[in-house]
């Protein structure tokens, strides 16, 4: 095996690269920590925080969390390093289960989306944690926008009531989050309403709306501003309404789309009726979870009081940090309204304390629609 020696450099390259990749995989450290000293030193001084992100590396939630980690670290007294750990899978349940198993010592944080909060009510399979035992430090919002296809004959909200236009509405997956939107659209009394699920991403929905296969579709406001807006400018897509945010129990307009009505407003315009009843109550509760809490950052409720106080102070400063907000807008294309303290708690409680009647309502609705 004389050739062994000659191939050694090549193998060294491969091995080094392997190590490089394994090493650089999924960590990103924040700004350096300070050096410790006297007795009354800050809780986080010289420590390291692990932030679990239950999504793949490189996606919007991951990129956002890494950016946030960098700024948050600067605002926490003692400047701990924050290391992001990606634990994707199981519709975020894998990651939060793992968060539950970590030490409740204030050195572990987790991020989740509103879909996870909803899942604890409607899709409990595989959940090993209880959100009621966690404290939400801060939640950043992001709304959904519903747009129509001019190709299919939709040029304004009123066209949805045109009896000659069948309304095909497309989405990714029929789950509790999607159920409240299909319910609300159905309630608007559209001529022939047919939800079509199974599209494999925002892009596929956009393409289907472009060609008129779908009459209306939805996307997140970030995706809309970055990828769909230009189709609106050239006239092949028309924005119709947004899911809205929930403030003091009422659905309000998205500040990024001040001219677009919310879904309940659109309902009122089209039917002349006030949105009332169990279906609309559930809509409000789930909207609070989905849009107000699009990205929420958690700490264990039984973590040391010192740690929780330090983090509460830090997020107050974080949401007021202009530089952070500027970079967030650059990243997402849209400002995501933050909620801290009682506000974020209220949004979570809305879903955690959802009346049993609402739970049954969603389950019945899903069963009916699937059948």
């Amino acid at each position: 095996m004389g050739s062994n020696r000659k191939t050694a450099p090549a193998w060294a390259v491969v091995a080094a690269a392997g190590l490089l990749i394994a090493g650089c995989g999924v960590t990103n450290t924040g700004a350096g920590g300070g050096t410790g000293g006297d007795d009354g030193r800050p809780f986080y001084e010289g420590k390291e925080i692990n932030l679990i992100v239950p999504f793949d590396a490189g996606g919007a939630s991951d990129t956002y969390s890494r950016m946030l980690a960098r700024y948050l670290s600067q605002h926490i007294e003692g400047r701990p390093e924050i290391i992001v750990e990606n634990v994707p899978g199981g519709a975020q349940k894998d990651g939060i289960n793992r968060f539950e198993r970590t030490e409740h010592d204030g050195l572990n944080l987790a991020m989740s989306s509103g879909a996870l909060v909803t899942a604890t009510k409607f899709d409990k399979e595989g959940i090993q944690f209880d959100l009621a035992g966690y404290e939400a430090l801060v939640g950043f919002g992001g709304t959904m926008i519903i747009f129509g296809s001019t190709q299919a004959g939709i040029n304004s909200l009123q066209d949805l009531k045109d009896p000659t236009i069948p309304i095909f509405y497309g989405g990714l997956e029929l789950n509790a989050s999607e159920a409240v939107r299909t319910f609300a659209l159905e309630e608007m009394g559209l001529a022939r309403f047919e939800p079509l699920m199974g599209y494999d991403g925002g892009g596929a929905i956009t393409a289907a709306v472009m060609r008129g296969e779908l009459t209306i579709g939805n996307s997140t406001s970030t995706h809309y501003l970055q990828n769909v807006k230009q189709l609106e400018d050239e006239g092949s897509i028309v924005p119709l309404m947004t899911q809205g945010y929930v403030v003091d129990g009422r659905v309000v307009r998205d500040p990024a789309f001040p001219d677009l009505p919310t879904i309940p407003e659109a309902y009122e315009t089209l039917t002349g009726k006030k949105p009332e009843g169990i279906g609309w109550e559930t809509y409000t509760a789930l909207t609070a979870a989905q849009t107000n809490l699009l990205r929420t950052y958690w700490i264990h409720g039984d973590a040391p009081e010192e740690a929780r106080v330090a983090l509460r102070t830090a997020v107050e400063k974080l949401v007021a940090d202009e530089e952070f907000n500027g970079e967030a807008v650059k990243l997402l294309g849209v400002h995501s309204p933050p909620q801290v303290g009682d506000e974020v708690k209220a949004s979570i409680d809305r879903i955690l304390q959802l009346p049993p009647a609402s739970v049954t309502w969603v389950e019945d609705y899903l069963a009916r629609t699937t059948a």
Partner: protein, 510 residues
């Protein structure tokens, strides 16, 4: 237009941008080289780092990385019979037998030439098609996409080489495996058996590693013989491969165009394009079709040309409509947004045109640099095929299992790789072909949801759409061709006395 093209080239070749291009290409080559890792991993890791980078630099790095991955992945496919990424599985079928004959250098030379020219052609296709993209995107509805998935599946018959029954069974198993997890149409979980890991379904890269890479290494280890006994034509082998590749202009250009065209259709990934072009080439060539799978240089060229050409095609819907044509394109879109580049028709405006050219030049340069540096490394690396497998096999196994774990950081992945590896070994023993399983798996999810949407949207009237009927006829033709080989004989008669260079001989002559 010309001004923008020159301006873009000037921007790109300035030292500070070129450095990023080199970084991207270097990382891409290494990621391709290691079985189980691919462009997706690299892009995901690099994405957070490009915040604040200048657009031209960021584009150079991301697109350079993506292009280089499909060049680097050729090494393990040819030298060890282990696909470097999911997109180089078809290369194994002929590249590995060539290595066994001691022609690793020739195979690599042909592959890199195909990579480079395919990449060039893809870039040209991107340039030409950008203004014409709209009708293509608008014309491909769910019924057409469903029929295309069936067309892809019908290629199983072509690839089967006689064993049509086992091939279709294998393909159907793949489709079944694709249904594991949540059904997006209804939100129900299927075939999960209470195992939490399965709720998200199986991961393509885990399946590919388990299905092809693990059994290859295992059988290398059990036989413990070097892949090749002697390395014929050590000197100049790569160049000879390049020259041989250039002689098959039809295969090269045809597959590059086919690869770019398939890349435009959102939802068809590199792994499917790979098999489609391989199958189509096997059908289309006149001479010595039975050499395919035994070390035919054309079998190496077809997927390799198509793989790099597809990058240009994928970018058409990505850039024009913000509709990502593949998973990597989706990450790329995120990167564009981070750098403040608005995709969509506004890219065609005069002040933004240079960015399109930056992308096109990046594709050209990245493919050229990647292919040439790979060719330079080929001489050294091809000696791997002379090594006894025990010297690298165990190392490779560990790397692959780590790569599978790295894909999702889930222990279930490690278990899944082993279970699928055992299934693959069983299939090998039964002489059931494994490629159809992967084709079925890749096409299964799309086929199911496109069919569901088509029926929900059009009931059964979609079956009467002209384009659906045309694709339907193509499927029938493909099946007839696969089962009977009637077209090959017809073409052979038309070709008459015309002789073509014998590819196997040519390769032997080196």
């Amino acid at each position: 237009m010309l001004e923008s093209a020159i301006e873009a080239l000037q921007i790109l070749v300035s030292p500070q941008h070129l450095v990023w291009l080199f970084i991207g290409v270097a990382i891409g080559l290494v990621l391709g080289l290691i079985p189980g890792l691919g462009g997706l991993t690299g892009m995901a890791v690099l994405l957070p780092l490009i915040v604040g980078l200048e657009p031209a630099s960021g584009i150079a790095m991301l697109i350079g990385l993506n292009a280089a991955t499909t060049i680097g992945d050729t090494f393990p496919s040819v030298l060890m019979g282990v696909p470097g990424t999911a997109a180089s599985q078809a290369t194994v079928l002929d590249g590995y037998p060539m290595a066994r004959k001691g022609l690793a250098n020739v195979a690599l030379g042909a592959a890199f030439t195909s990579n480079m020219l395919g990449g060039f052609i893809g870039a040209v296709v991107l340039l030409v098609l950008i203004p014409l993209a709209r009708p293509i995107i608008v014309g491909m509805g769910s019924p057409q996409l469903f029929m295309l998935t069936l067309l892809g599946f019908s290629l199983v018959a072509v690839l089967a080489r006689g064993a049509v029954g086992p091939a279709f069974m294998s393909g159907l198993i793949g489709m079944l495996l694709a249904t594991i997890g949540s059904a997006s149409m209804t939100g129900e979980y299927r075939f999960v058996g209470g195992i939490f890991y399965l709720y998200d379904g199986l991961d393509l890269s885990v399946l590919a590693v388990g299905l092809f890479a693990i059994p290859s290494v295992m059988s290398l280890l059990t036989q413990n013989q070097a892949v090749a006994r002697t390395l014929a034509h050590q000197r100049g082998g790569v160049l000879r491969g390049a020259r041989a590749a250039l002689r098959h202009k039809g295969v090269l250009v045809g597959n590059s165009l086919l690869g770019s065209a398939l890349g435009i259709v959102p939802g068809i990934g590199g792994s499917v394009i790979d098999w489609i072009t391989y199958g189509a080439t096997k059908q289309a060539v006149r001479k010595d079709r039975d050499q395919f799978g035994k070390g035919d240089i054309r079998g190496v060229m077809a997927p390799e040309a198509a793989n790099n050409a597809k990058d240009g095609g994928v970018l058409v819907p990505t850039l024009m409509f913000g509709i990502p044509g593949s998973a990597t394109a989706a990450i790329l879109l995120g990167g564009f947004a981070t750098m403040g580049i608005a995709t969509g028709p506004s890219m065609l405006r005069a002040e933004n045109l240079y960015l399109i050219f930056v992308i096109i030049w990046t594709l050209v340069l990245a493919n050229a640099i990647g292919a040439m540096s790979s060719a330079a490394l080929a001489g050294t690396l091809s000696k791997i095929s002379l090594l006894k497998p025990y010297t690298y096999g165990p190392f490779l196994l560990v790397i692959m299992v780590i790569a599978a774990y790295q894909a999702g950081v889930r222990w279930g992945d490690v278990v899944a790789v082993i279970v699928i590896g055992l299934l693959a070994w069983l299939m090998q023993a039964l002489k059931w072909p494994r490629p159809p399983l992967l084709i079925g798996f890749v096409l299964g999810t799309g086929a199911e949801s496109y069919l569901w949407i088509s029926v929900g949207r059009y009931e059964w009237s979609w079956l009467t759409q002209p384009s659906v009927i045309v694709i339907g006829l193509l499927i029938v033709l493909t099946l007839i061709a696969g089962f009977t080989d009637v077209f090959g004989r017809l073409l052979g008669r038309f070709a008459g006395a015309r002789t073509m260079t014998e590819p196997a001989e040519e390769a032997n002559r080196g």
